[in-house]
């Protein structure tokens, strides 16, 4: 591990005390085992680096799936004051609004057992995957700008899905403040032919079966039951999002030199939220987020068409329904209640319900409502029951959280909690998290056929890229059950259901 001192707070939290230029402490959600497995991973140092940024509120957080990223760690969460704080493209990541959507059906495992192979092959044929893959559309720049402004609604207006889908999408699939004029010609060019494509790397489309229900009442509200077939789609904003991140990183590397505060890592380059540079990035980032939502909306629509071709039943007949769509690489302006007068000393351990003050972020004394810019890089929003941003049907139970695992495991559905809202700016983990880099995984799987190994486990996998399956082999990732157990036990989200992979297509 890097030379960073970790102090254990309780069974699931470790603190990095503020030293040097750190403005706040770091807090890592993890377990003894996951901390041990982290080995020489530099991500704790990155948690500490993020704590150097101006206007950071309370602490620099990391979720149990934390691993090394560029600038911010993957699994990092940090909130910034709107006046004194910054926005950092590196705190969002290259793949802006990379995220997941889970589509449920009324099919059971028995209904598709005999045609599973056909379904996977048909999905692989019908859904564009792989490096630089092109979709069926080539958008005019004018139309592309409509996508960037309207997000998933653009896709629904074009006939890809139904208005109900928007209800079940974070931010209704459209982030406010998107201004296509803030997106470069290069980014627009990269985005024109990639809308409606899955991409490569860890992106996938997977047929799953609900294996276990942990919380019956919430599962009913989410429309989940045992043995049910569901489809999980994991994709993002493709080349457009990458180019937006890259363009603004370059701008901010130049800009940050004039701001007069030292940065421990150039990849943390940033701008004040109140500045033109900061606002421009937020507008461009919102465009990329909207592109990603339109992308996942289209991928879902085509998945329905493929199921119809194979099963000869329409999406309506098989009860296809979007459970929810979450983003896990994003910065959002959200309102929280902050305790203005935390007890002294401010770094005192413990405290009922939160690390700072009586109620953590949502304390009950001297509290005020504040808008903060929450960066979630490889972290998922986890809003509690009653939050006004939730769709009506989930208002009583809380926000659905989708946690994809490696291709041999499956995924989890969790639900947001009050504790997450108080302690982690309404955030939880986003996946299993890598333990091996792509190169390490390729070396470690030398001479093996991952597709055959998966088949032995009853999982059909197909990939476009020659090395994708090896890079994405299950051992390259942390144990998903352990990661989820941490957030469940720590109370920043609660387990609802576990799904098992049946078939998976990758780029």
């Amino acid at each position: 591990m890097s030379e960073i001192r970790l102090e254990k707070i309780d069974e699931y939290r470790w603190m990095i005390p503020p030293v040097g230029g750190m403005r706040v402490p770091g807090i890592i959600y993890s377990s003894e085992e996951l901390i041990r497995e982290m080995g020489t991973d530099e991500s704790p140092k990155q948690v500490a680096n993020v704590a150097h940024l101006p206007g950071i509120v309370k602490y620099s957080l990391a979720m149990p799936d934390m691993h090394w990223g560029y600038g911010f760690p993957i699994g990092g969460v940090a909130a910034f004051d709107m006046e004194e704080g910054v926005i950092s493209p590196g705190g969002v990541g290259y793949d802006i609004n990379c995220g997941c959507r889970l589509v449920t059906t009324r099919l059971s495992l028995d209904d598709i057992r005999d045609c599973l192979q056909y379904l996977v092959v048909a999905l692989f044929r019908d859904i564009p995957t792989g490096v630089g893959s092109k979709g069926v559309l080539k958008l005019s720049v004018k139309e592309e700008k409509n996508v960037l402004e309207k997000g998933a609604k653009w896709a629904v207006d074009q006939g890809y899905g139904a208005p109900d889908d928007l209800e079940a999408t974070e931010d209704r699939g459209r982030m406010e403040g998107a201004d296509p004029e803030k997106v470069s010609t290069k980014a627009l060019e990269r985005g024109r032919e990639q809308l409606g494509t899955l991409g490569s790397g860890n992106h996938f489309l997977e047929i799953e079966v609900v294996e276990e229900i942990f919380d019956e009442a919430v599962a009913v509200a989410f429309g989940l039951e045992k043995d049910q077939i569901a489809i999980l789609i994991h994709s993002g904003s493709r080349g457009l999002g990458y180019q937006v991140c890259d363009d603004y990183l370059a701008k901010m590397v130049k800009h940050v030199g004039d701001l007069g505060f030292p940065l421990p890592d150039k990849q943390l380059s940033c701008a004040y939220l109140r500045s033109n540079q900061g606002r421009d990035y937020l507008s461009a980032m919102a465009c990329a987020a909207n592109y990603a939502w339109a992308n996942r909306q289209m991928l879902m629509h085509w998945t329905g068409e493929t199921f119809e071709r194979v099963l000869h039943k329409s999406p309506r007949e098989i009860g296809m329904r979007l459970l929810y769509d979450v983003c896990h690489n994003i910065a959002k302006i959200e309102t929280f209640t902050v305790d203005e007068n935390p007890p002294s000393p401010p770094l005192e351990k413990g405290g009922k319900g939160g690390f700072f003050g009586k109620g953590g972020l949502g304390g009950f004394s001297d509290e005020r409502q504040v808008k903060l810019c929450v960066h979630r890089k490889g972290a998922t929003r986890a809003f509690p029951p009653g939050h006004p941003s939730l769709p009506g049907r989930y208002l009583k139970v809380g926000q659905p959280i989708l946690i994809p695992g490696d291709m041999g495991t499956g995924s989890y559905v969790l639900v947001g909690t009050e504790k997450a809202f108080k302690d982690t700016f309404g955030s939880t983990c986003h996946g299993a998290g890598r333990v091996m880099s792509r190169n390490q995984a390729t070396r470690a799987s030398s001479g093996r056929s991952i597709a055959k190994e998966m088949a032995k486990r009853g999982i059909i996998v197909m990939a476009t890229g020659k090395g994708t399956l090896r890079e994405e082999m299950p051992e390259a990732y942390k144990n998903l059950d352990q990661v989820v157990q941490v957030v469940h036990e720590a109370g920043i989200s609660k387990k609802v259901a576990r799904l098992r992979s049946l078939g998976c297509i990758k780029g």
Binding site: G201, G239, Y242, V253, K266
Partner: protein, 124 residues
């Protein structure tokens, strides 16, 4: 990735070549197109990162596989170069490693007694 060159021009050419070499088998890439690469930077590291960004964009944005580079003029804040290759054709070319971005992580350019050394981390 670490790159070497006898001169700074060679370092830049070798770094850009490495992108194409990591992505595909360059022996299968013919020279039918040429593009100019222009980049600016605040120092050598920044310049190298920005130059490689432009080189990478020619694949990611324009779909060109490039294996033949030259530097026309260079100083620590400015570089003009040329790249030659052909459009990516999925029937003839195979992408071995996708390079998604050039990062600032640990970027380094140094002149040594024997030449120039550079380090760049790609997001793959």
């Amino acid at each position: 990735m670490e790159i070497y060159g006898k001169t700074v021009e060679e370092l830049f050419v070798n770094a850009a070549f490495a992108i194409g070499d990591l992505m595909t088998d360059l022996q299968n890439v013919e020279v039918t197109r040429a593009r100019r690469i222009v980049a600016e930077g605040t120092d050598w590291e920044d310049l190298l990162v920005n130059y490689l960004r432009e080189a990478l964009y020619l694949f990611n944005g324009e779909g060109l596989l490039l294996g033949d580079y030259a530097i026309i003029e260079i100083d620590p804040r400015h570089v003009v170069g040329e790249a030659r290759g052909e459009p990516f054709d999925p029937d003839r070319h195979r992408i071995n490693t996708e390079i998604k971005a050039v990062t600032y992580h640990q970027a380094l350019v140094r002149e040594t007694e024997t030449g120039w050394i550079g380090r760049v981390v790609f997001d793959v």
